[in-house]
Symmetry: C3
């Protein structure tokens, strides 16, 4: 059984390693896989977006733990969710939006940002507030519920334990809108969601939503679609690996060349 | 069986990966867990502190390998220790201090730094100098005993091999004092041990040692205890996940705001 | 069974984690080991050098996946190779040079750089072009063949699947010359291949090739061999863990002290 970890803990400290110790002490057969621990500190929205794009590549029954948690130590809920054959574990701040279908999360309106909002739990998805003292046997620190709450809960689920053992059902939870810009007529007004290591700028514009022969406008430049990184001879857009439009620069960084980054507007028309 | 790794090798080179290859070639069933490979180069004291706070979260029988080793290739001892139901493997420079109880390691006096000193091996703890040619079958390089000595020794122990197969007992070893400031009357004079990724400053002041209603002085500022990161409205102290006092800044970096870092004095009174 | 990963994806994105999901969904028993994901972006030569020095430490039957791939999405071949009892999987751009013996790859001439060239597949080594639709069941993106091609191919091989299932044999492939400077008389003209995290400069001069009592010239300085890092009292050369000469500075960075880095000339005479 697989437990994935997605946090903003970085790799310079032992926080991620300690979470693995807690999981393996309780569920020795588990395979713990790092999605990333380098989410920018407290960037709940980026973490939600990253999990959204990654969880489907893991087998059914996997447990996805996401801990980007500025509210640690407060009374916000601690969620465990079963949805789409996978488990999701983390704080109730939108970081687990991947567990909720896009149509239910709704869409950002042009001009709005990505803010988490409360939705009612949809049919077919189970979610509980983790609070069972049987699972969380140790003292719970005010600063590291990844270790004290979410890791033990994940180990419980990975061993085949039931969701309802963890705590009572919750009627609602926080989610981000779908990370996908709406097309209005032949125009999509999107934003850059994230820059990656190569300086590629990943937008919330889905390739399947594009109008015919789209031209992209970003940072005052007009860009066209290229078939591959190597086929572009300057900054260009490309269909990225999640089906979202990326802005790329062959053998260089689009982020640097365009002076653009997360939050910047990108229009396709 | 679990082998943990704690080094200053970084993740840009293949050093950590190669250690895993050596371990898995000899003990295919082992689960190798990274504690961190980003200890500042040759910072033996920080590595010792990190291991001290992490090993207890792993199950009994785990093997903890720590390689921060400015003396690699010299005649310093190479230790394997059995203590508290866990194994510890690494150079004899204090990095394995976690294997020795705090009371035996002794305490830093106010005004002193953290320097490793030689102690006699206490009763109930076994330690050997790794030198058996049966275990270390290959040529030993002058620069990478993590691969040539410590990884094979860890694999041997993880497979259930005995400590005495690795080499002869040692009568003494180097340890750091307990990473815990002494309380004198109602006053504790501590230091910042380490900054973490969030800019939190982790001190050597244990929460259980605090006087009533403590006020903290650091970098010319007076700080008070907060119940959680979110409950603070400026730089504050908080009980960290290892029971040590941390200095934190909600949605920011205490290290930056206070201009403070490892080695700086913190007084609680 | 072990699958190793060597990429330039970094660890801030979920690319490496997603590759693990794809592998484990198809081959749950596999042990996935990171060699490194921090190869400088698109530095195919450094990736080839790193794999060259690492794969031998893994057990026979291991599958080594290397994805540093500026040509992703183009028609360049996608290779799976069986050589020396190990499998190698990645694009046909030289990154898999480790699969080909040094004598066949040939040697760089003094003054030349490291450029990949086409060689005929030598006897005793099998290589195919990965193209079987049975293995690559999903849509193949233009930007992430690590996920869509190389991870499924690696899972197939790790489960004991045959090379020929993946696609037709290839008659030739790209390789870098051996990462080893030629000795001419009593003189070796080498280059710095890479700086590591400690500021050590790793050269392509093999210790076994050195003339007697060698003196090294780099960045206008004359250096001598030291027996260990600790035995040097200033910048010095040392026999590194792969048998290559490294330039090191005790308790400091040779790269900084000498102002030298990858590509710089080093002469031993």
């Amino acid at each position: 059984m697989i437990v994935t970890l997605l946090t903003d803990f970085g790799l310079s400290d032992t926080y991620a390693g300690v979470m693995k110790g807690v999981i393996l002490a309780r569920a020795p057969e588990v395979n713990v896989v790092d999605l990333t621990h380098d989410v920018p500190p407290q960037a709940v929205d980026e973490a939600a977006f990253l999990l959204d794009g990654a969880w489907r590549y893991f087998p059914e029954g996997s447990v996805h733990v996401a801990v980007v948690d500025p509210g640690v130590g407060t009374s916000r809920r601690r969620l465990a969710i079963f949805s789409g054959g996978h488990y999701f574990v983390g704080p109730d701040n939108g970081v687990l939006s991947a567990a909720i279908p896009e149509a239910i999360r709704g869409f950002r309106r042009p001009g709005e940002g990505y803010d988490a909002r409360t939705i009612s739990l949809p049919a077919g998805i189970a979610a509980v507030n983790i609070e069972s003292q049987m699972i969380l046997t140790q003292m719970i620190s005010a600063t590291f519920e990844g270790r004290d709450v979410f890791a033990p809960a994940a180990a419980h689920l990975a061993k085949g334990g039931s969701l309802s053992d963890l705590g009572p059902p919750v009627p609602e939870l926080l989610t981000f809108p779908a990370f996908r810009a709406l097309r209005v007529g032949n125009r999509i007004e999107g934003v850059v969601l994230r820059g990656d290591r190569f300086g590629n700028l990943i937008t919330d514009i889905a390739a399947v939503d594009l109008p015919p022969s789209p031209v992209f406008t970003v940072a005052g430049r007009s860009l066209h679609l290229a078939a591959s990184y190597a086929a572009a001879d300057g900054p260009a857009t490309i269909v990225g690996s999640s089906g979202l439009i990326e802005i790329a620069m062959p053998n260089g960084s689009a982020a640097v060349v365009l002076g653009a980054g997360a939050g910047d507007r990108v229009v396709a028309a």
